[in-house]
C-alpha cells in the first residue's frame, strides 16, 4: 500500500492525523526509542526522524540545538540508518527521514535512498532541496518507491504549487507561515485562503507544520488538513519533563 493510500485509510477513522518529529540521537537513541514507543502507543500516525546536520538552515532554535548537540555527541549517519531499521521493525506506522540535502549528497544520493528503502523508511523531507536541484533524488525516490515529500509555503504561487505537486508523493507538507520551525502560527483568514490554494493545487493529503504545539492548534486544523505536524513542541516537552510526559501530551492533542 502506498504512503498516500495508508494516510487516506487512517484518515477514514480520525478527524485528523498526527505526524510527530524527533532528532535522532538527541538527547540519545535510548530516549528516542522510548519517545517513539510512547508516540506510537498514543496513536501517532506518522513519525519524522531527523538525521542531524551541522547547518540546519530551515530549523528554529529548538531543533537547531538538538541537531548540534546530537552531532557533538558523535551521532553518525550510519547509526541513524540502523536506528530507523530497528524502529520500522518494531512499529507498524510509517516513518520518514527528514534531513538536509548534504547528508544524502555526501553519502551518495542513490546509495542513501537504497539504504533508506532497506531500513523500511517510507519517504523523505529535504527542506533545502527544491525539485529544480533534485533530479537525481526524485528519480531515485521513484526507483526505490520512497515518497519525496514536497513542501508548499504561503509564498508559493499557484503555478509553483502545481509544479511542486507534480514531483510530490505521499502527502504535501504545507509550511503554515513564514519563518523557521518552533514559533507561533496564527490561523486566520489568510491561512484559510492559503490552505484552499494548497488543496486546489494537489490531490495529495495535506500536512500542516510549523507552530502546531497544542490541542487548540490541532483542533483548528480539523477539516482543513489531513495531518497536523508536531515538531519542536515534543522536543521541548522531553527536554523539560522527560520522555514519560510524551504519552499524556500526545493523547491530549485530539
Amino acid at each position: 500500500m502506498s504512503l498516500t493510500q495508508q494516510i487516506r485509510q487512517a484518515k477514514a477513522d480520525r478527524e485528523i492525523l498526527l505526524m510527530t518529529h524527533l532528532v535522532l540521537g538527541y538527547p540519545s537513541f535510548a530516549v528516542n526509542r522510548e519517545v517513539i514507543a510512547r508516540m506510537v502507543a498514543a496513536g501517532v500516525e506518522i513519525i519524522e526522524l531527523q538525521i542531524p546536520f551541522s547547518e540546519p538552515v530551515a530549523d528554529g532554535p529548538v531543533i537547531l540545538r538538538a541537531n548540534q548537540e546530537a552531532i557533538d555527541r558523535g551521532v553518525r549517519v550510519r547509526q541513524c540508518l540502523e536506528f530507523a531499521a530497528e524502529m520500522t521493525a518494531e512499529h507498524q506506522i510509517p516513518f520518514l527521514f527528514m534531513t538536509y540535502y548534504n547528508i544524502l549528497f555526501k553519502y551518495g544520493v542513490e546509495d542513501f535512498l537504497a539504504q533508506a528503502r532497506k531500513v523500511g523508511v517510507r519517504g523523505l523531507i529535504i527542506p533545502d532541496l527544491p525539485p529544480e536541484e533534485g533530479e537525481e533524488y526524485l528519480a531515485a525516490c521513484r526507483k526505490h518507491e520512497l515518497a519525496p515529500i514536497q513542501i508548499f509555503a504561503p509564498t508559493s504561487s499557484d503555478e509553483r504549487m502545481a509544479k511542486l505537486a507534480g514531483h510530490g508523493d505521499g502527502f504535501i507538507y504545507c509550511v503554515a507561515r513564514r519563518g523557521v520551525t518552533g514559533a507561533q502560527t496564527s490561523f486566520d483568514r489568510e491561512f484559510d485562503d492559503y490552505i484552499a490554494r494548497c488543496r486546489r493545487a494537489t490531490d495529495l493529503p495535506l500536512a500542516v507544520g510549523f507552530g502546531i504545539s497544542n490541542r487548540a492548534d490541532v483542533e483548528m486544523l480539523k477539516g482543513k488538513a489531513e495531518i497536523a505536524v508536531i515538531g519542536s513542541a515534543t522536543i521541548r516537552l522531553v527536554e523539560e519533563h522527560g520522555p514519560a510526559a510524551v504519552t499524556e501530551f500526545m493523547e491530549g492533542l485530539r
Binding site: V57, A58, I71, R76, F105, L129, I151, R178
Partner: protein, 419 residues
C-alpha cells in the same frame, strides 16, 4: 546558476518567490546601463573609486623580478573591497523597494560595510555575527551599533561565520517581504555569486586599465586571497579572457595544510589526499549552494582556522571551484606564520598595512616575484587595510607594549564604575 559542477540554489520553498524576484530585479539591473552608471557614480562620490594601482618599488627591487603592483582596495570607504558589493546591493534594494537589510559577518568587515550602506540608504539593518566573533571583534560591533545597526550574537553551532549565515537565512525566511539579505561574498544560492561577482568586477576592470596604462602590457600573474572569494573574483574578472595572465588564489593555510587547522578548500586537495585525518574539502551542498566544503565523511561541516577571520570559512565560491577545476585559477595556501612575515615586510617596505586576509596574497606573490622577468609585472589585490585588525595583529606579533597597554586599560575599566 551553475559554474561547471558548482553553484545552484538550494533554498527552502519559503524563499522561492523571493529568489524569483531577486533574480528578476538583478537581471533587469544588469541589462540597464543606467544602473551600472549609477553604481560607478556612487562608488566614485561615496567611496573612492577608482582605487589606485600602486607600484611597490621597494618590494620590486627587493625580489629583483617582476614589477609588483598593488591594487588598493584598502582605500575604499570602510577599508575593504566589501564596500563595492554592499553599495551595489544597496542600490538594488532601493530598486526593489525594500526597507530593511540583514547580513552575516565573520570578522565584522562585511557587517560594518552593510551597516554603513544601510545608514547611507536609510534602511533598517540587522547584522548576525557569531557570538565568538562578537567577543573577538568588539571594535567592529561598536561601529556597527553606532552606525545604527542591531547586532545579533549567534549562539548556535561553532558561533562563527557559517552559523551567522544560517541565522541570517532564518531571519530572511521570516521577513522576506520587507527584507533583503546582503550576502557578503560570491557564495550562497544563485543569484548571489553572480550578483556579488558583478559588483566586484569593478576591481578587475579598473586594474586592467591601470596596469595597461602604467606597465604598457598585461601582468604575468594576479594574486588574490580567497575566503569566500569575492575580492579574488572581483580582480580575476578583469583578466579571465586574457589566457596569458595567470590567476593565483591564496587560501588560508592556517597552521599548515597537514595540521588539521586551516581553511583551505582547494589548495589542500592535491597535496594532502594521501594523509589521514585531515579536514580536506570534498564536494558538498550547504548554505544554499554546491561547492568544495571542509566537511567530515558524514557531511557535517568542520571547524576551520585562520589568523585571518575573513578567510576562516568552510566553503568557497562556486565560480572559483569551477575556475580551479578547469585549471584557469591556480590555488595555493599561505600559513599564519608566512602571513605575519609578509605583513611585516609590506609595512616596512612600502608603508602599506594589508589586512591579514590580503597579506595571504602577498605571501604567494613574494614567493614568486623573483622568478619572473624584470620586464613582467604582477598585481596583488590588497583587499583591505589591516589597521582595523589591531587587536589581532598586535596579538599575533606578541607585542609586549600592546599587552601592557590593554592590561592597564582593562584595570582602569575594572576599577572605575560605568558612569
Amino acid at each position: 546558476g551553475y559554474y561547471g559542477n558548482w553553484g545552484g540554489a538550494f533554498v527552502p520553498e519559503i524563499l522561492h518567490e523571493t529568489f524569483r524576484q531577486l533574480n528578476a530585479f538583478f537581471t533587469e539591473a544588469q541589462a540597464d546601463p543606467a544602473f551600472w552608471r549609477q553604481y560607478v557614480d556612487l562608488m566614485g562620490s561615496y567611496s573612492c573609486r577608482p582605487t589606485p594601482l600602486t607600484l611597490a618599488e621597494n618590494l620590486t627591487r627587493r625580489f629583483g623580478g617582476a614589477s609588483i603592483y598593488i591594487k588598493r582596495e584598502d582605500l575604499n570607504h570602510t577599508g575593504a573591497h566589501k564596500a563595492n558589493n554592499v553599495m551595489g546591493q544597496g542600490l538594488l534594494v532601493q530598486r526593489m523597494g525594500k526597507r530593511r537589510v540583514i547580513a552575516e559577518t565573520g570578522a565584522g568587515q562585511h557587517g560594518v560595510a552593510t551597516a554603513t550602506m544601510a545608514a547611507k540608504f536609510g534602511f533598517e539593518c540587522t547584522i548576525y555575527m557569531g557570538e565568538e566573533d562578537v567577543q573577538r571583534q568588539r571594535p567592529n560591533v561598536f561601529w556597527m551599533e553606532k552606525l545604527g545597526a542591531t547586532v545579533v550574537p549567534v549562539t548556535s553551532g561553532s558561533r562563527t561565520l557559517k552559523d551567522a549565515i544560517n541565522e541570517a537565512f532564518r531571519d530572511w525566511v521570516a521577513n522576506m517581504d520587507s527584507t533583503h539579505y546582503v550576502m557578503g561574498t560570491v557564495c550562497g544560492p544563485h543569484p548571489f555569486p553572480a550578483m556579488v561577482a558583478w559588483f566586484q568586477k569593478i576591481i578587475g576592470e579598473e586594474a586592467k586599465e591601470q596596469i595597461l596604462a602604467a606597465h604598457g602590457r598585461l601582468p604575468a600573474r594576479v594574486y588574490a586571497c580567497v575566503g569566500g572569494g569575492s575580492n579574488a573574483m572581483g580582480i580575476f574578472q578583469g583578466f579571465l579572457a586574457d589566457e596569458e595572465v595567470e590567476l593565483v588564489g591564496v587560501e588560508a593555510g592556517g597552521e599548515g595544510l597537514t595540521s588539521g587547522r586551516h581553511a583551505s578548500r582547494l589548495a589542500a586537495i592535491p597535496t594532502t589526499a594521501d594523509t589521514d585525518g585531515i579536514p580536506d574539502a570534498t564536494p558538498g551542498v550547504a548554505q544554499g549552494y554546491k561547492t568544495m566544503f571542509l566537511q567530515d565523511d558524514d557531511g557535517q561541516m568542520k571547524d576551520t582556522h585562520s589568523v585571518a577571520a575573513g578567510l576562516d570559512y568552510i566553503g568557497v565560491s562556486p565560480m572559483l571551484a569551477d575556475l580551479w577545476e578547469r585549471g584557469r585559477v591556480r590555488m595555493t595556501a599561505a600559513t599564519d606564520t608566512e602571513v605575519m612575515e609578509a605583513l611585516q615586510l609590506a609595512m616596512a617596505s612600502e608603508g602599506i598595512i594589508p589586512a591579514l586576509e590580503s597579506a595571504h596574497a602577498f605571501v604567494q606573490a613574494f614567493k614568486e616575484a623573483g622568478e619572473l622577468s624584470p620586464e613582467s609585472a604582477i598585481i596583488i589585490n590588497q583587499s583591505g587595510r589591516g589597521d582595523k585588525d589591531i587587536f589581532t595583529i598586535a596579538h599575533a606579533f606578541k607585542d609586549p607594549s600592546w599587552r601592557e597597554f590593554i592590561r592597564a586599560k582593562g584595570e582602569e575599566y575594572g576599577k572605575e564604575p560605568v558612569s
